[in-house]
């Protein structure tokens, strides 16, 4: 149960052992709490093509047990029951910092840190999934429990400890994952459908078999490029960092998209097809 990245990893591992898996999610589409519906549909389609059933709009009311020692299934919000030998729960992470309540360190949801990653006791540092920034980029969350963020913080902290001064810079958001055989990369900001404001326009493209897909987000009026979600297409991070640094327009990104091509040699280059689709959509 739970439609995030950990849930899908768990499902994949069980599935590779020829164990039947069902994924129960609260949202209407897989990971639509993060992805726009077009992209969530693509991922869900992929999961289903791999033989994993995604049961949406469902919450769990309770666990069924077998002589009080083993789980035997779950009861769903519509009162139906599902039998199971194993129930995996992956409903997100939250720092477990209760052991720090007596310590005097200032905490909120996580341990509060400044831009040098120092806690309220400046000789103690906190990084990773438990660290919450006092001042964060308005477009970003103060607590980001993601591998890349943790590594970036570790880099910054080692720099700070060795060279004395180095501030942690959140930089441009990026993340990646793999849903079974479908690779996913994202750079910048692409809002999901429920949080998307009218000023944020999405251009979505996918191939007919829905094995490759891409969503570009930009501001309607200024045409400022905001971010990208890519599925089954490898994109060069440095190219997108460059466009985000430059506050490039969506038109520049489309024009230069080929420089971001990072798929293996000889594989089909989708950037031309994409550019064509975008231009015919926007003319």
């Amino acid at each position: 149960m739970g439609g995030g990245l950990i849930g899908v990893e768990l499902a994949e591992m069980l599935h590779s052992r020829k164990i039947d898996v069902k994924i129960l999610i609260r949202e209407p589409l897989f990971w639509s709490s993060v992805l726009p519906d077009t992209d969530a549909l693509l991922v869900q389609n992929h999961l289903e093509s791999r033989g994993v059933e995604v049961i949406s709009n469902t919450e769990i009311k309770g666990f069924l047990t077998h002589d009080e020692t083993r789980v035997s299934g779950v009861e769903l919000s519509d009162n139906s029951r599902l039998e199971a030998q194993f129930v995996g729960v992956s409903i997100g992470v939250e720092p477990n910092i209760s052991f720090l309540t007596e310590s005097g360190l200032e905490t909120n949801q996580g341990i509060l840190v400044n831009k040098h990653l120092q806690t309220s006791d400046e000789s103690i540092f906190a990084i990773g999934d438990c660290a919450e920034l006092r001042q964060s980029d308005p477009k970003r969350r103060a607590l980001e429990a993601v591998w890349y963020v943790a590594r970036k913080m570790a880099d910054a902290l080692s720099e700070h400890l060795i060279n004395g001064s180095f501030a942690y810079d959140q930089g441009h958001w990026f993340n990646s994952a793999k849903f079974f055989d479908l690779e996913y990369q994202t750079y910048g900001q692409v809002s999901n459908s429920s949080k998307r404001k009218n000023s944020e326009q999405h251009f979505h493209w996918h191939n007919p078999r829905m094995t490759k897909g891409l969503t570009l987000a930009y501001e309607v009026h200024s045409r400022l490029f905001l971010g990208v979600n890519a599925f089954g297409i490898r994109l060069k991070q440095s190219a997108f960092e460059h466009w985000l640094d430059q506050s490039a327009s969506i038109d520049t990104v489309i024009k230069e998209l080929e420089t971001a091509h990072f798929d293996t040699e000889f594989s089909k280059n989708y950037t031309k097809e994409l550019r064509y689709a975008f231009l015919s959509n926007n003319s």
Binding site: R17, Y148, R151, S176, R234, F262, S267
Partner: protein
């Protein structure tokens, strides 16, 4: 119990394959059962083919395309279990019999006469049988490899290329050439010195010369291959153009050896051993080749315009010129490897000088030159490349010979490291340190160590198989021929 490891149909096809192999070895007894050995040989080969196709179908048809290495580390054959030892033993035994006790294979060899007759018009030898089996292994397992990696065009095209070169260049063409011109020695067009270390042997040169135009043409092609064609291609594409697109040893490793690539040791210790071994073998083969040519020239003073001293002098000056050029061009960062390079070159120069002063017609450094060559042929050409290189696939990984023994790989590696556009580019900070790339690198390169630091990978030993880029779950790695070859890792 653990049914996800091997399915029933995979097992059935494995046993069918084993049966085919047994039948092949038993084809000699056909006569006594009054079954023609042609029929037995053909059916054995057909059964083996069927078994491999069936296994491939059973393994990959039920699944979508994509990397499928599930349960690789749980299977006995691919994780140094009992089956791995059994197959290593059987393969090694086959090589030992092939090289040293071929009389035992005689009945089986006769079963291949009809194939050999139809190609070259000659009866089969043990090498012909080996050639057929080797080529079949690359073709059949090549199909398996293509099915497994069908989602990747790089892998598909590369494997078709390896299959093509093995079938046409290594197997069919030499047979046809032998039919056209009986004097011509066996010449695998895609093989080049130092792989065909016998290229410059007296008897080999003589048989080329006696085969006239075609022979001399081939000899010139052989020299051009190593001095001109290969450096140009390596500059443009890296050593992969040879090691994983053309070479037969690489071809077998990639196709039949695919299931064993994760067994390659990627410790620093193995890396150090590798560097010492292949460079020593390179020194050895260079010395012995120059020695053989030197004594050949001494023996035939009248026939060639080249005198032994001029020959040694030109080899020395060529070497000095090349090393000088490299030093001049690359001194900024050569320091790291300078020691190794100096030792190699020093050993070679000392060797040549010694050769010149301590040699008479039959001796190089007071050692009979032909025994130096035959020691090399025995230990490197036979024991290493065959017995250990292939026999030990299930124990040491599929590129043991390519990593630790191949002098050609040593030369191409030096070229790749010093001047080549090829590199594996890392996609900035995307690596999640999962280690798949290092685990599946058949050359034992710790790819992750570079990817974590967002550095491009430029390693002498990388054969450009591209598997690291395939297994990476985050698309971090990309094999490229960059436009700025001087960019250093």
């Amino acid at each position: 119990m653990l049914s996800y490891q091997t399915t029933a149909s995979q097992r059935i096809f494995t046993f069918l394959g084993l049966f085919g192999i047994l039948l092949l070895f038993a084809s000699g007894i056909g006569e006594s059962l009054s079954i023609s050995s042609n029929v037995l040989t053909s059916s054995a080969l057909a059964i083996i083919g069927l078994a491999i196709f069936g296994y491939t179908y059973a393994s990959y048809a039920p699944y979508h395309s994509g990397i499928k290495n599930n349960a690789n580390v749980l299977k006995s054959l691919t994780q140094r279990g009992v089956w791995a030892y059994v197959s290593a033993l059987v393969l090694t035994a086959f090589y030992v019999v092939l090289y040293f006790f071929d009389a035992y294979l005689e009945p089986m060899i006769r079963g291949f006469d009809f194939i050999s007759q139809s190609l070259s018009g000659k009866p089969a030898t043990q090498w012909f049988v080996y050639g057929v089996l080797y080529t079949l292994a690359i073709l059949l397992f090549g199909v398996k490899f293509i099915v497994k990696y069908r989602h990747s065009r790089y892998q598909v095209i590369r494997t078709l290329s390896v299959m093509f070169f093995q079938l046409i260049f290594a197997f069919l063409l030499p047979e046809f050439m032998a039919r056209l011109n009986g004097d011509l020695p066996y010449y695998d067009l895609k093989s080049m010195w130092p792989l065909n270390y016998y290229l410059f042997d007296g008897y080999y040169i003589e048989s080329f010369v006696s085969a006239q135009t075609l022979g001399i043409g081939l000899l010139i092609f052989g020299v051009l291959s190593i001095f001109v064609i290969s450096p140009i291609l390596t500059y443009k594409f890296g050593k992969r153009w040879y090691c994983s697109w053309v070479c037969g040893c690489g071809g077998l490793a990639e196709t039949a050896g695919d299931a064993f690539r994760h067994l390659s040791d990627n410790s620093i210790r193995a890396w150090k051993l590798e560097r010492w071994m292949i460079h020593s073998i390179l020194v050895l083969i260079t010395l012995s080749t120059v020695g053989v040519v030197h004594s050949y020239l001494l023996e035939h003073p009248e026939e060639y315009w080249l005198s032994p001293s001029v020959f040694i002098l030109s080899v020395v000056s060529l070497l000095v010129a090349v090393v000088g050029l490299i030093y001049f061009k690359r001194r900024a960062w050569i320091a790291k490897d300078a020691k190794t390079a100096m030792i190699i070159v020093g050993a070679l120069l000392a060797g040549f000088t010694g050769m010149h002063f301590l040699s008479d017609t039959y001796h190089v450094f007071l050692i009979p030159s032909h025994s130096l060559r035959s020691v090399y042929g025995f230990f490197v050409g036979s024991i290493f490349s065959g017995v250990i290189g292939t026999g030990f696939y299930p124990l040491l990984g599929n590129r043991v010979w390519c990593r630790f023994g191949c002098p050609m790989a040593a030369i191409l590696g030096i070229q790749q490291k010093l001047f080549s556009k090829f590199q594996i580019t890392t996609n900035s900070g995307q690596c999640i340190s999962c280690g798949n790339c290092s685990a599946y690198c058949e050359m034992g390169i710790d790819v992750r160590a570079y990817a974590q630091k967002a550095e491009p990978i430029k390693r002498a030993s990388c054969v450009g198989c591209g598997i690291c880029a395939e297994v990476c779950p985050r698309g971090v790695l990309r094999l490229e021929n960059t436009s700025n070859p001087n960019q250093q890792a």
